[in-house]
Symmetry: C2
Subunit: 249 residues, 2 copies
Amino acid sequence: MAGDPVTGCLIIIGNEILSGRTQDTNLAHLAVELNELGVRMVEARVIPDVEKTIVDTVNECREKFDYVFTTGGIGPTHDDITADCIALAFNTVLELHPEVVKIIQSREAPPDVMESRMRMARIPKGATLIENPTGGPPGFQMENVFVMAGIPIVMQAMVTTFDRKRIPGGDPVRSRSIGAYLSEGKVAVKLRAIQEEHPDVDLGSYPFFRQDGFGTNLVMRGTSEDELDEMLGEVRQMILDCGVEPISE
Amino acid sequence: MAGDPVTGCLIIIGNEILSGRTQDTNLAHLAVELNELGVRMVEARVIPDVEKTIVDTVNECREKFDYVFTTGGIGPTHDDITADCIALAFNTVLELHPEVVKIIQSREAPPDVMESRMRMARIPKGATLIENPTGGPPGFQMENVFVMAGIPIVMQAMVTTFDRKRIPGGDPVRSRSIGAYLSEGKVAVKLRAIQEEHPDVDLGSYPFFRQDGFGTNLVMRGTSEDELDEMLGEVRQMILDCGVEPISE
């Protein structure tokens, strides 16, 4: 696509995702939201709650991508080690952040409970907070790394606070899609020709199986609305030339 | 846990997952199935349909993990480049595999459609097939790399053909879980103590929010049933000591 895209990578931290116990939904949500800010999700990794793995992955990814996002591991229990790992990755220390301390103290609790909760006020030195509109402890941003909660409703709330001032991106990717009761094999040759004419648009082909038959959805993704419309017209014509009616997805 | 676990990594290949258009469900399914074979899923990556990225990721992961699994990109269209990338990664070539040719030819089609479908018969030299019980073209295994379809029903069908002869694993991980209407903060100190007593079991703590209140699920994962039962007893007692009734998840 025209110009280098601004890139994002999501690091999903959590044994429960890798064991299959919990289904991640944060990737799909974040990808759509970031696209509106002009950041293209180009990789995601799911890694366990293991210090060395987290530190190494964060350090590799923050060099490789414009923005890195993490989800998971910022709660009050022993298996919440993300903040510690980010501090290690940036060779800095954790400090009690006065604003977070205040948020946590605003809910009364016995001393031992308060002490555990206070783990969530430990923020790497130099980081800025990511507001948590659900009222709980915030996430934080350390350079190009954004550290968020893993619980979808909390993570989604944090993402609503992002804007182009904090995350300057490029052009959002727009898409067009059209389907047909045609096998991928039937359209493969013509699709390749259309793709080759429009190198700045990604043309994806996704088979589907429904009760009333099988077919293919064709999805075009690019930053130029005009070129997308042009390509959509060609794909629609290709479907008509095969003697079937195009369908919306 | 006792002994080095046999490790697995899933590489999810597909722009549609990274764009947020499609929700991956293959990771959770494969993680559970592999565990029964004694293979622990320890990392997953989601990467785009980009040749260099696929080749580099496959080469990095097949060195790092005992088994690598890929999903996506083995259809007949121009954006299906996984087989080509695997051949490149192993520095070998693609050859028409006679068994796959036969499967594809068993469904009649005009010459141009047949030619596109025949892309799916291109298998890296030296690979063995992964049977596709849905009747479509198979996946393939190249050394420790297992290449499968991305469509969940097809991928799941391929996974049913795996056994310990093909994929020798170690001990499956077993789990126990128990929940309580207690905040994570309330149980954090005691949980840490229980975890430290049982270094071979992973004790995870997952907050939940329901209409009738919020609480925490505690999940123990390990290979020794006896140690899991012992830990479960301690966690149950901890919950009772907090003055609330344990609940099943």
